[in-house]
Every structure is written in structure tokens, then in C-alpha cells.
């Protein structure tokens, strides 16, 4: 069963909305800099959403604000904002920071004095993404906040696809959001995987990732719902699968078997062969291990000529938002007919058998693949189709 995308909301350091994002991609613009959202001793560039001003509420988590803004954009894009009442709408959102009570000041005060103000606790308790969206929109339907680390956004889209396929809802708001936050910033630093310079996905000299923030939201619909609303699709979610390495908490299985299963499963779900794929938006965090494993699997499955890139050089690693943003970027690329160069890549690693595209590249064909990998051994893949060839829609 095909699932249709009728709306997109994309917010990242690369831009707030499609126009700004495409301009950044076209110009190769990388909007990273020192962290400004909190004080830190750790020297690593971060991709902040500096221009973000659409705070729906003054007293909610930044992550939920980002998510609500992207949701609003997706609903407007799908012409659904005004006709949302009475519809069977599911909400599946991925997050990392939005699920965690990690306020250092709260904990310090509690530990030292035995009591602490409840302000940050209240923010946290109101900050669950899927519950927050349901409350904001006053909708009812299945609701899940996915916390599968950096694969959460992709997995949330996959959850929504399952709901739509099994009739639990007719429309789903799916994606992910995360804000830049001090605790994970220090945590990633402790793992030794933060780069002190701009990240270089798949490059010989890559030395780690840059953290970012943002939100990506897709409005997914069943064919019946879309036709009843007389909407044109922007894309079709053709296939999805995910797998687990059952290997290590933070390192990918060196064999890449889990990622290979996820990609193969997504292709089977889409009823496609690997040679149907026009390009791949890879997870490509720019860590030594991730890029090595991922590129080898892409080469094994798609050969040496597949066009691929990581967009982390434009957005940073936005954690749970990454998979949803990148699914959105795939849709933009299918619509525009080009993908940007893999920002940060300069020199091929001899251990990596294929190179990403280095400049804006025209693409032909109708199918894109987006991959995600996350702590906990999560591997996920989405196959996305351009609706152009579906003449009857």
C-alpha cells in the first residue's frame, strides 16, 4: 500500500523552510558556529537554528516549539490546518532531548539542598512531542513518541506508515525534532565523536560530527484521504524497514549487517531492485565508524556509481530530527531534480570504496533512499518515490 506525502515542514540551520534550505544547498552554505544557546567549554561548531522566532508558547521546550512550527508548516503545505477537526489523525514523532529531564541546574539544586523549583520539571512534563501536538491541534488518534536515538525520525515515519497501512488512521503527522542541549553536547564529547572543526562526512580526514538542531515533519495520507481532499502528493513513501545490530550501545556493527537488512527490507517493501534508486541521502555523521560501515554497505548494495551524499554538513547532526529532515530533503531533491554536493567531503578514504557527490548534481529517475543509524544498534531505511510517474493522481 502506498502512503502519500502531502505536506512538508523543515527547520534546520540550513534554513527555516524549503526556500532557504534549497538556497543553502545550492550555495554550499554551512551555517555552523560556536554554541550560543548555552555556555560550554567544549570547542565544537554547532548548527543552531539562529533565526527561529516562531515560539508557539513562551513556556514550552525549544524542542516542542521547533516541532510545532514544522508541524504547522506541514499542515499549511497540505492545506489541512483549517480542516483538521474530525479527521482520524495519528502523530508519530521522534526525539532525544525532548524526552529527557536533563536540567543541570535543577539537579544541582535538588542534590545540594534536597529541593528544587519545579519549572524545568513542568516544561519536561508538557514537552512530550506527540502528546504536545495532539494537545495543540486538539486531535485524537494513535500517538507515539519514538526514542530510538538518531534513527528516531525515520522510525517515526515508519510507525506512521504502519498505522496508515493497517487503517489506524487516515492521516499522520510524522517526523522528529531536537534542540541543541548542553547535556548531550557534553555526552557526545565524552564519547570522543565531536569534531573541533566543520564535519567532513566520508572524508579521509573526518574526525567526528557536529551537533545541530531542527525539526522535520511530513504529512502522510492514505490514498483515499488524499483523493477525498483533492490534494496532489509531493511524494510517495514506498518502502520502509528497520533492524537492530544487537551488537553495541554506541558503535555500529562493523559488518553493517543491520543496515544492510534495513535497506534490503525497505527495497523489498517498495518492490524495487537496488538499480531503481536514483540517489541516497546517507546518515553520514562524519564519525570514523559510521561512515566506514555505511559506505561499504552502500557500495555492496548499489555499486560504485550510485550518487549519494550526507546533508549533515549543512545541518549538523540533528539527532532525532535527522531522519525526518533528510526524508524531506529527498523529496525536495526529487522535485528539483538535483542533489547538493556533500559539504565537507574533500578526499576519499582508501578504506571507503565509494565517494559522495562533491557538487550540485542532476539526478534522473524517481526513487530516493534515506538511511539512518542510531545508538542502540538502530538501522532504518526509507524508499521515497517522486509522484511524477503516477499520471492518474
Amino acid at each position: 500500500m502506498k502512503i502519500y506525502v502531502t505536506g512538508l515542514g523543515l527547520i534546520s540551520a540550513a534554513g527555516e523552510g524549503e526556500k532557504e534550505i534549497l538556497a543553502s544547498f545550492k550555495a554550499g552554505k554551512r551555517r555552523a558556529g560556536p554554541v550560543s544557546l548555552f555556555s560550554t567549554e567544549i570547542q565544537s561548531p554547532a548548527y543552531e537554528v539562529k533565526s527561529f522566532s516562531r515560539h508557539h508558547y513562551s513556556k514550552i521546550l525549544r524542542t516542542l516549539n521547533l516541532c510545532l512550527a514544522a508541524t504547522e508548516d506541514a499542515l499549511n503545505d497540505a492545506s489541512l490546518m483549517e480542516e483538521i477537526r474530525g479527521k482520524r489523525i495519528g502523530v508519530a514523532m521522534g526525539t532525544s532531548v525532548g524526552s529527557v529531564l536533563n536540567d543541570i541546574d535543577f539537579y544541582r539544586e535538588f542534590r545540594d539542598k534536597g529541593s528544587a523549583p519545579m519549572d524545568s520539571v513542568n516544561l519536561y512534563l508538557e514537552g512530550n512531542l506527540s502528546s504536545g501536538i495532539h494537545s495543540f491541534l486538539e486531535t485524537e488518534g494513535p500517538s507515539i513518541t519514538v526514542v530510538n536515538a538518531c534513527a528516531s525520525g525515520t522510525n517515526a515515519i515508519g510507525v506512521a506508515m504502519s498505522w496508515l497501512r493497517t487503517g489506524l488512521c487516515d492521516i499522520a503527522i510524522a517526523g522528529g525534532a531536537d534542540e541543541l542541549n548542553k547535556v548531550p553536547f557534553c555526552g557526545f564529547g565524552s564519547l570522543g565523536i565531536l569534531s573541533d572543526s566543520l564535519c567532513s562526512p566520508f572524508d579521509l580526514n573526518r574526525n567526528g560530527l557536529n551537533l545541530g538542531e531542527g525539526a522535520g515533519v511530513l504529512l502522510l495520507e492514505s490514498e483515499r484521504s488524499m483523493k477525498e481532499r483533492k490534494k496532489k502528493p509531493r511524494a510517495i513513501m514506498r518502502g520502509y524497514d528497520f533492524s537492530n545490530d544487537a551488537h553495541h550501545l554506541t558503535s555500529p556493527d562493523p559488518s553493517g549487517a543491520g543496515l544492510e537488512r534495513a535497506i534490503t527490507g525497505a527495497l523489498i517493501d517498495a518492490n524495487l531492485e537496488p538499480d531503481s534508486i536514483s540517489f541516497i541521502n546517507a546518515h553520514g555523521t562524519a564519525t570514523i565508524d559510521n561512515d566506514l560501515v555505511e559506505a561499504r554497505i552502500l557500495y555492496n548494495l548499489f555499486g560504485s556509481t550510485i550518487a549519494f551524499l550526507s546533508t549533515k554538513g549543512y545541518t549538523g547532526h540533528t539527532l532525532a530530527a535527522a531522519g525526518a529532515l533528510e526524508a524531506g530533503f529527498c523529496i525536495l531533491a526529487l522535485e528539483q531534480g538535483w542533489i547538493p554536493g556533500c559539504a565537507g567531503f574533500k578526499k576519499l578514504d582508501p578504506d571507503i570504496p565509494i565517494a559522495p557527490v562533491t557538487q550540485k548534481t542532476q539526478i534522473e529517475g524517481h526513487f530516493a533512499l534515506s538511511t539512518s543509524m542510531g545508538f542502540g544498534g538502530c538501522d532504518a531505511a526509507l524508499v521515497i518515490e517522486s509522484p511524477e510517474q503516477e499520471g492518474d493522481i
Partner: protein, 355 residues
Amino acid sequence: MKPVFIEGIGIISTRGRGLNKFEQALKEGWVEPTISVDGRKAYRVPKDALIDYNILKKVRRSDRFSRLAVFAACDAIHDSGLDIADLDHSSVGIIIATAFGPHATIFKVSEDIIDYGEKKVSPTTFAHSIHNAAASYVASALGCTGPVMTTTQFYFSFQQALLLASSWLDEGRLKKVLVGTVDECSPAMEYICEEKLSVAQNGKMSPLSCLKRPKFVPGEGSAFFLVSHDSKNKKYGAFTEIKITSDSHGWTDVDLSIIGTNAMGGSEEVYKDVLNEGIPVAAYSSIYGGFMTGNAFECVAAALMLKNQKQYASSNIDGAEVWNVVDKSKKRELNQIQCISHNNKRQLAFIKMMK
């Protein structure tokens, strides 16, 4: 909803590890909770319940939160009669629902930052503070390479996880799903509960009192169900319907209603509107304490009652404000049971289970 058959159950609670311990607790009713380290009463899982070197050798570095999940998950597989080594590892999915995640470990990351500085956070602690660390350990312990997902919500997280498990089975994505919940207490969380909720100083929750401001005692634990669409492997009946709604109409064709009054969702007066006078009502949260994923524990109780054809007396009927309270344990024909819970928006979630 196509029936989702229960093949195995694993549970760990303040009364110990395993279904037998839980069933014994249902028979015994309320006992005074253990005392937490800072003097607050809480229904905590005893340390000796988390000692099993056959399992621990697979998860040696794990934190307590992950261990709670791994023990219950492994027990669910064992209870089904399957050997972990014989599992079809790629066709078993795992869904873990949690309200607060590994927050005790998350606070330890903050503690590292406070005590040692931003650059001296323990990488091991940080790795375990990720919400899906427990699911990763469960997958590793079982060797499962199929889909593994962690979800989080404060209310109805088990119900939503169960709906997703049902979808995965309906899609044919998987043959079996191990779906469960885990949450733990910590001094900081117990403090938060004390600030936000009305704590029962005597350590005794009254889950049938349906008060506007119910009395709360923190609880913790983990419960897992191995489920499939294959009726041949059914051991405890099935989940047959799930609905989450703003109206207060449950099913009237059930033999028993179990209410998930855990004192965490605000006013419990909502149950007065829901409970049909003719249907016997039970509640058991004073056995295992208040925690948002405790709804899975009510389903374990229901599954045991359907299997044993026996109703267990409510754990504490003080101040009962609902009708037809189950106050005696006895043999009884039970074909269908509904488990009801509520959230702070006065929505209700209903899970119907059948023999």
C-alpha cells in the same frame, strides 16, 4: 482488531521477579512498601530480584533501568516455552514503552558535569542515559536483529505500544513481538512526585477511592508480553480491542473491569462515570505502586485471571467509591476483562482481553 495472542509474560515488581511472585502478590494484597534511601516510601524492586548471572553475563555493564527490562523480557520468552537460542531472531520485534526512561542515569550525567566538568562525563554513563539503551540490551541478550523500538509517553504508553505491535503483526512485518514497559524510581523522581502529587504517608494507595486528588506512592518495574497472531501458541488469552477516547464508554460485555488508578493522572473521579454498575471492578496498583507504565501490570493481572479462571480481590478497598468492588478472591468464569486507565486530560484508554 485482529486478536493478539499472549504466548508468554515476564514481570518484575516490588514483590519480586516472575509471574509466580506477582500472582502471590495478587493473592496477598497490599503490604507496606520498602523504604527508599532518603526515607520516602516507595515500591521499589528488591536488589535480589535483579541477580541472575545467566542474564547478567549478557548485560554486565548495564544500568538498573536496562536490567529491569532485560529480566522481564527474557522471562517472557522463557515463559512462552521458547529457548532464546531457538528464536527466529529476525522475525521477533521488540517494543519498549517508558514514561521517564533511564532518568536516574540521566541525572548521573548531570552529576558528572557538576562534579567533574563538561569534559569529564563518563562515556559509559552517557551511553546508558539514552532512552533506547534498555531496548538495545534486550535485543543483545536475546540476539534479536529485527525491529527494535523504544517509545515514550507519560500516559497510555503501553496502550500505544500494544497498538503498534498489533500493526506490525497485521502488516506481516513480524511473526512475534515482545512488547513491554519499564520505569524506575529514583530519589529525584520521588522528590518530584512528592512535589507534584499527594503522597500517601502511610505507604498505602487507595485505588478504588476515585478521589479528585488521589494518594500516591511511587512504584517501578517492568512487564513484557510475547505476542503473535498465532492462536496455537496462546497461553494467556488475547488482547482483542484497544480504544483511547474522550468519551466515558467502555465495553459492557466484559466480566470484570480493572482500573489503572495510579494517582499520577490527576483526578480519578472520571472512573465514576465509566464504571457500569453491573460489572465487577478491581484495582491492584497498591500492590506495585504508582507509575505511568503500570497499566501493563493490570494487563498481567487480567491475563492471569483469564488463564486461571479466578478473580483476585482488589489490593485495598479503603474508601471505595465505585460499585460492585471485587473484594474476595475466588474461582469464577471469566471470558473477557477490560483494563481502563486515564490521563490528565480526562481521556480514557481501554484494553479488552479475552480468555
